[in-house]
C-alpha cells in the first residue's frame, strides 16, 4: 500500500517527538565534536513545524507538508543543520509535486532528492562524517528495497535501518566538513550528530508508514 499526506503529517509529528526525546543526546554528541546546539536547534525547528501543521488545509498534498517542513526549518533552525535539512525537504517536496499517493518509487525519489539537496548545499562527500553518511546508505537501501519489489513501509524500514547503521559508522571517521572538521584526528571516535538526527527522522518516517499500514489493516 501507498502513503498519503496523512503519512507526511504523521512523519512531522513523530519527528518532533523523536527530536524532543533525543534533544539531550544530540546536544551531547554535538558538544563532543561541535558546539552543542544541534539538539536544541532541531527541537526548536520541529516544535515550530508542529505548530505550523495546524495551518495546513485538509486538501494539502504530501508535497505541501514537506514544503511546510522545509520553510519552517529554514526560518527556525539556523546553524548548519537549518539550511541543510531545509534544502532537503525543499527538494523532497519538489520530488513529491503533484502526487496525492506516494508509492515505493516515489518515496525513493523523495529520499534521493533530499540527499541530493544536502550535497548540493553542503558539498560534503560520503566519508566526510556528516549527515550525508546517514542519507546516502538510506537512499541506497531504499532503492534496493524498491527494486526488489518492497512496499513503502518496507522501503522506509530499509532506509531507516541503513541510516542508523550509517550514523554508527561515522564514529571512526575523521570529519572533513562542518565544525567537527576543526578537530581533525580528534573527531574520530565520536558519532556525527547530524547523521544521528537523520537516523531519528528516517526512523520516524518508517514508523509513520508502519502505522499507516496498520491503520489501513494491511
Amino acid at each position: 500500500m501507498d502513503v498519503d499526506s496523512n503519512w507526511a503529517t504523521d512523519w512531522v509529528r513523530r519527528s518532533a517527538d523523536a527530536v524532543a526525546a533525543h534533544k539531550a543526546d544530540l546536544a551531547a554528541l554535538d558538544r563532543a565534536i561541535g558546539d552543542g546546539d544541534h539538539g536544541e536547534n532541531l527541537d526548536r525547528g520541529y516544535r515550530a513545524a508542529l505548530a505550523a501543521l495546524d495551518g495546513l488545509g485538509d486538501d494539502a498534498t504530501p508535497a505541501d507538508a514537506l514544503m511546510l517542513v522545509a520553510t519552517t526549518l529554514i526560518s527556525n533552525v539556523g546553524g548548519a543543520a537549518g539550511p541543510l535539512y531545509g534544502t532537503a525537504f525543499l527538494k523532497a517536496s519538489g520530488a513529491a509535486q503533484g502526487l496525492d499517493e506516494l508509492g515505493p518509487s516515489d518515496v525513493v525519489a523523495i529520499l534521493t532528492a533530499a540527499r541530493d539537496g544536502i550535497v548540493l548545499r553542503g558539498k560534503a562527500e560520503p566519508g566526510d562524517k556528516t549527515m550525508v553518511d546517514a542519507w546516502t546508505p538510506a537512499v541506497e537501501a531504499a532503492s534496493a528495497a524498491a527494486a526488489a519489489g518492497s512496499d513503502v513501509r518496507a522501503v522506509l524500514e530499509a532506509a531507516a535501518g541503513a541510516a542508523e547503521r550509517g550514523a554508527v559508522d561515522t564514529e571512526p571517521l575523521v570529519a572533513r566538513k562542518g565544525r567537527a572538521s576543526y578537530l581533525g584526528e580528534r573527531s574520530a571516535g565520536h558519532r556525527d550528530p547530524g547523521a544521528e538526527s537523520t537516523a531519528l527522522l528516517l526512523r520516524a518516517a518508517a514508523e509513520a508508514a508502519a502505522d499507516a499500514a496498520e491503520r489501513r489493516g494491511s
Partner: protein, 333 residues
C-alpha cells in the same frame, strides 16, 4: 551553571531588547524577525553593511552597529547562525539602493544561511556582495576542513569597511577593502576555561586545572590541542609563533594588535598579554601603531584570550581613525 538569565529560551530576545533600551540613541531593535539596525537606517546613498551570527559573542555584532561601522546586525540563537528570514529583513531595512555588503564569519552554518538570504535579496533586486572572514590560523588544514574560521579579524573588517562606506565608497570598493583587510588579518586564541550554553547546562568541553585549550574556536568547540597551562608570556609567544609566520608579518610592517577577551577574562590579564605581545612584535621589528584590548569577540563566560594582528597602511589607518559611533567602539563622535 549559574547565569543571570530568566528562561534559557528567552536569552537572546531579552538580551537584544536590553541592548536596544540601553543604546536607543544609536540603534533600533526589530523584534520579529529579530535584527538590529542603526537608528538612522537606511542612510541615503550609502552602501549598507550587514553582519550577524550566533549569539554569545557579544559585543559582536550588535555592539558594532552605528555610524562608521555596521548598518545592521542579525543575532542567531546562542552559538547558532541566524536564519535567512532575519538576515533578509535586515538587508531590506538598511538597503538604500547603493547595495549591501554581507560580512560573514566562515562557519558552515553562517555561510549557508547568509547564502540563502543573499539569493532571496538578489531576487528582490538588492545588489549584494559577500565577504567571508577566515582569519583564525588555528585551523591548520583548509583543504580537508570547513576552512579557517572567522574570529577577531571580523571586527576589524567591519570597522574599516564601515568607514569606507561612510566615506562614500561604492559597493565594489567597500567589498574589496573588506576582503583585503580580511586577507591581511591573522588570529588565534587559547581558552583557560570552557563555557556553558544556557539551554545546555553542560560545559562545552573539559579542561583540567593544569590544562589550556590551544587554538580554541569561539563556539567553545575544542581547539587544536590541549596543552599544559603556562605563564602568560609563554602563551602569548605560542600564539604569535603561529600567527606571525602565517601571513607572514615581517620586520617593518605596521600593524594593529588586538588582544581580545573571551568574555570571562579580567581586563587586567588582557593587558598583561597585550604587554608581551607588543614587546614581542617590537622584537620582530613590527610596529604596533594601533591597539584594541578588551572583550570584542567572546564565547559567553569563557576565560582566555585571542590575539589578532592586522597589517596596516596609511589608508587603513585613516579609515580606522575616522569617526565611529557604536555601543562598543566609539570615537570622534
Amino acid at each position: 551553571m549559574k547565569k543571570l538569565i530568566n528562561d534559557p529560551v528567552d536569552v537572546v530576545a531579552e538580551s537584544v531588547a536590553g541592548f536596544g533600551a540601553a543604546h536607543a540613541d544609536i540603534v533600533r531593535v526589530v523584534a520579529d524577525p529579530l535584527h538590529v539596525v542603526r537608528r538612522d537606517a537606511p542612510v541615503a546613498g550609502k552602501v549598507a553593511l550587514v553582519s550577524g551570527g550566533g549569539s554569545g559573542h557579544e559585543p559582536l555584532h550588535a555592539g558594532y552597529v552605528g555610524h562608521g561601522m555596521l548598518d545592521a546586525a542579525v543575532p542567531g540563537a546562542v552559538f547558532t547562525s541566524p536564519t535567512p528570514d532575519r538576515i533578509l529583513a535586515a538587508m531590506q531595512a538598511v538597503d538604500a539602493g547603493a547595495g549591501v555588503l554581507l560580512i560573514v564569519k566562515n562557519y558552515t552554518g553562517d555561510v549557508l544561511n547568509f547564502e540563502t538570504a543573499a539569493e532571496l535579496a538578489a531576487a528582490q533586486g538588492i545588489d549584494v556582495r559577500t565577504v567571508v572572514t577566515d582569519d583564525d590560523v588555528a585551523v591548520t588544514d583548509s583543504l580537508y576542513t570547513a576552512g579557517r574560521r572567522g574570529t577577531g579579524g571580523t571586527v576589524l573588517v567591519e570597522r574599516i569597511a564601515g568607514a569606507a562606506a561612510e566615506r562614500g565608497d561604492d559597493l565594489d570598493a567597500v567589498a574589496s577593502i573588506a576582503a583585503a583587510v580580511n586577507a591581511d588579518a591573522r588570529s588565534m586564541g587559547v581558552a583557560l576555561t570552557p563555557c556553558t550554553v544556557p539551554h545546555s547546562g553542560e560545559p562545552s568541553f573539559a579542561l583540567a586545572e593544569d590544562e589550556m585549550e590551544f587554538g580554541i574556536g569561539i563556539h567553545g568547540e575544542p581547539g587544536r590541542e590541549t596543552l599544559p597551562m603556562e605563564a602568560a608570556d609563554r602563551i602569548v609567544d605560542r600564539l604569535l609563533d603561529v600567527i606571525l609566520p602565517d601571513l607572514p608579518f615581517a620586520s617593518g610592517d605596521r600593524v594593529l594588535l588586538m588582544t581580545d577577551g573571551m568574555g570571562g577574562t579580567p581586563l587586567a590579564e588582557l593587558y598583561i598579554a597585550h604587554r608581551r605581545a607588543s614587546e614581542r612584535l617590537a622584537e620582530e621589528g613590527i610596529e604596533v601603531v594601533r591597539s584594541l584590548v578588551g572583550d570584542h569577540v567572546t564565547a559567553l563566560e569563557m576565560q582566555g584570550c585571542a590575539l589578532t594582528v592586522l597589517r596596516l597602511d596609511d589608508e587603513r589607518i585613516e579609515l580606522w581613525d575616522a569617526p565611529v559611533q557604536t555601543a562598543s567602539l566609539r570615537w570622534r563622535r
